[in-house]
């Protein structure tokens, strides 16, 4: 403990942190409380913190029945899995080439990777939309996944990790008859596990929560991702059924929040990497 900090300072710090923490938790708690509150109580709730009658089953049941939330979450899982799988497949071999192999186009390619780090999806969105529309690919998983299959961030991150991997081991593997593909799959992928885990969290959080692109290329519930589904559910329910609306919000938010509580370190590493981006 810091010697300069007296009892008063320490109590003060906890008071501030409790107040701040309360503010952070306020919407989450209010969401959970409202999602189990009886509908007639919502309109007279005011300061009544705890519900007097519980309607958890009705509210969650309504949300799951009226909005195909499970369908949206399945869509979200499909989209996130496809994006992550292709990102890894594309990025890891390229990262190895950029880190350890010599070829003439390397500086150009690496410069493009660095440049790509600064470009958000909103920039290429218009031409991509025109192309998908012309090819009849709107409202497909392909349209939702394709623009994110190349993660320059993944290439950059894995390249940094692979650069630190000892050359001697790679040389030894070559002498043992490993092909370059085997070096990637059998040597590097196991060594990259922590980086892959962190990147997976980063990628899944980003694409589970993304609204801009799904909103542009999907109009059908068959392909809507959780944020889009939540938006449609909200627009359909404006002002009427807050209990069900909060239940829906809780359902959509739950997977990532629960994931975070179970694997805090990976989550913090993964999401904080966006800051390096």
């Amino acid at each position: 403990m810091r010697p300069a900090q007296g009892i008063a300072g320490r109590v003060g710090a906890h008071v501030l942190l409790l107040a701040g923490g309360g503010f952070m938790m306020l919407p989450l708690l209010w969401m959970l409380l409202t999602s189990i509150r009886a509908p007639d109580e919502v309109f007279s709730a005011g300061m009544n913190l705890l519900p007097r009658t519980f309607s958890a089953i009705e509210n969650y049941g309504y949300a799951l029945r009226e909005a195909p939330l499970l369908r949206y979450m399945l869509n979200g899982a499909i989209v996130c899995t496809l994006i992550l799988a292709i990102q890894l497949l594309v990025a890891i071999p390229a990262a190895y080439a950029l880190a350890k192999l010599s070829f003439r186009a390397k500086p150009v390619l690496f410069a493009l990777v660095l440049l790509g780090l600064t470009i958000p999806i909103q920039v290429p969105a218009i031409p991509l939309y025109i192309a998908f529309s012309a090819l009849g690919l709107l409202n497909t998983f392909f349209a939702l996944v394709f623009p994110f299959t190349l993660s320059v961030f993944a290439i950059f991150l894995f390249r940094q990790f692979i650069k630190g991997f000892p050359d001697e081991i790679i040389q030894a593997a070559r002498l043992d008859g490993f092909s370059e593909i085997e070096i990637v799959l059998r040597l590097l992928v196991p060594a990259l596990k922590p980086a892959i885990a962190a990147f997976a969290v980063f990628s899944v959080t980003a694409h589970w929560n993304d609204l801009y692109w799904p909103m542009i290329v999907t109009t059908s519930p068959e392909h809507a991702t959780p944020p889009l589904g939540m938006l449609q559910f909200r627009d359909a329910e404006t002002g009427s059924n807050y209990g069900a609306l909060m239940a829906g919000a809780a359902i959509v938010t739950a997977p990532l929040v629960v994931g975070f509580l179970l694997a805090q370190r990976q989550f913090i590493q993964g999401i904080t990497m966006t800051g390096l981006k």
Binding site: M1, R2, A4, A13, H14, L16, G21, M24, M25, P27, L28, W30, T34, V42, A45, G46, V90, A91, A94, Y96, A97, L98, L101, S102, F103, R104, A105, L109, L112, L114, G116, I119, Q122, V123, P124, A125, I126, P127, Y129, F146, P147, T149, L150, I155, E180, L211, Y212, M215, I216, P227, M230, L231, R234, Y242, A249, V252, T253, F267, I271, G275
Partner: protein, 314 residues
């Protein structure tokens, strides 16, 4: 690229007399090109061709579904600069950033200072402050709307109980950006806290001891004389990152205000979305996209300049 590689081979060969490394080098390059081909193709399809297309489209009057288009030169850019709606979107975006950035950076720093070295309880606080970062913003915007609801929300109930007037944040033209900024800052504080904590752990304890010897014992002295100067690079980095995030505000606007009331929450990305994907005025939307790109690239350029400097520090 492969052809170029092949053509230059003899000159490399004259330098290196040994044959084996040369063959090895050629095979290595072949593997490298194989590994990088998907990246190169996707780079063209997702970044290079679309960005070139945006630049070209911004000089045309192309509208989605139209059979034809004509070149209009810089007409869109002139129209944009003369359009009060564009300036309103810029002003709203910067006003939003001007609230979110100091709040999220200042509070992030404060929380980081308060939770560091607080043992297990510090860890619990970290989890609480970080929790909003992992939430789905669309869902949480819906929740915030309800929390701030003029009749049903707990905030106004509390204000009412205190005998104060009720606030209808998202219908009040003067409050709407501040309301959106509260949600934006709420989601960013924990993120910035983690970045600051990383910066704080890098400050060696000796420096605090040395400062104490020189009489800087009070926490405020310690902060001003040791922590703040050494945290400079981290702070700049967090500032720029938060700025970029603030420039991209979109989700909360779509869910809660749709640019209203009276256009007071119409931000740059939302204007781009409306022009491009609601009105299908592709040419004009492309011009807006280039402005957005310039903003983000400028911020990123500052950021990479700062990262370079940080490397020299380290």
């Amino acid at each position: 690229m492969d052809a170029i590689e092949f053509a230059t081979m003899p000159s490399t060969a004259t330098i290196s007399a040994r044959i084996k490394p040369r063959r090895r080098g050629r095979a290595e390059a072949a593997w490298a090109y194989g590994f990088c081909t998907p990246v190169a193709l996707l780079m063209v399809a997702i970044y290079l061709a679309p960005i070139a297309a945006v630049a070209v489209l911004s000089l045309t009057d192309y509208e989605l579904g139209a059979p034809d288009f004509t070149w209009v030169g810089d007409a869109h850019f002139r129209a944009m600069l003369a359009d009060p709606v564009f300036w309103r979107a810029m002003r709203n975006t910067f006003t939003y950033a001007a609230i979110v950035v100091p709040a999220a950076v200042g509070l992030g720093l404060m929380v980081a200072l308060l939770v560091q070295r607080r043992g297990r309880l510090g860890g619990v606080y970290q989890i609480i402050f970080y929790l909003p970062v992992t939430t789905t913003l669309v869902a949480m915007a819906t929740v915030w709307h309800f929390v701030l609801h003029p009749q049903l929300g707990p905030l106004n109930a509390a204000l009412g109980a205190l005998g104060l007037g009720r606030l209808d944040v998202f219908s009040d033209p003067d409050l709407v950006l501040a309301g959106l900024a509260v949600i934006g800052a709420w989601q960013l504080v924990g993120f910035n806290m983690i970045l600051f904590l990383a910066g704080l752990t890098a400050i060696p304890q000796d420096l605090y001891d040395a400062a104490a010897v020189e009489g800087a014992d009070h926490p405020i002295d310690r902060f001003l004389r040791v922590t703040w100067p050494l945290l400079g690079p981290t702070t700049m980095f967090v500032l720029v990152t938060t700025c970029i995030t603030a420039f991209k505000v979109f989700d909360t606007v779509v869910v809660l205000t749709r640019g209203g009331p009276l256009g007071r929450s119409e931000v740059l990305l939302y204007a781009m979305y409306l022009e491009g994907f609601q009105y299908f005025r592709i040419g004009y939307a492309s011009a807006l996209t280039l402005v957005f790109l310039a903003l983000v690239v400028a911020a990123a350029a500052i950021q990479s300049f700062l990262i370079d400097r940080k490397v020299h520090y380290g």
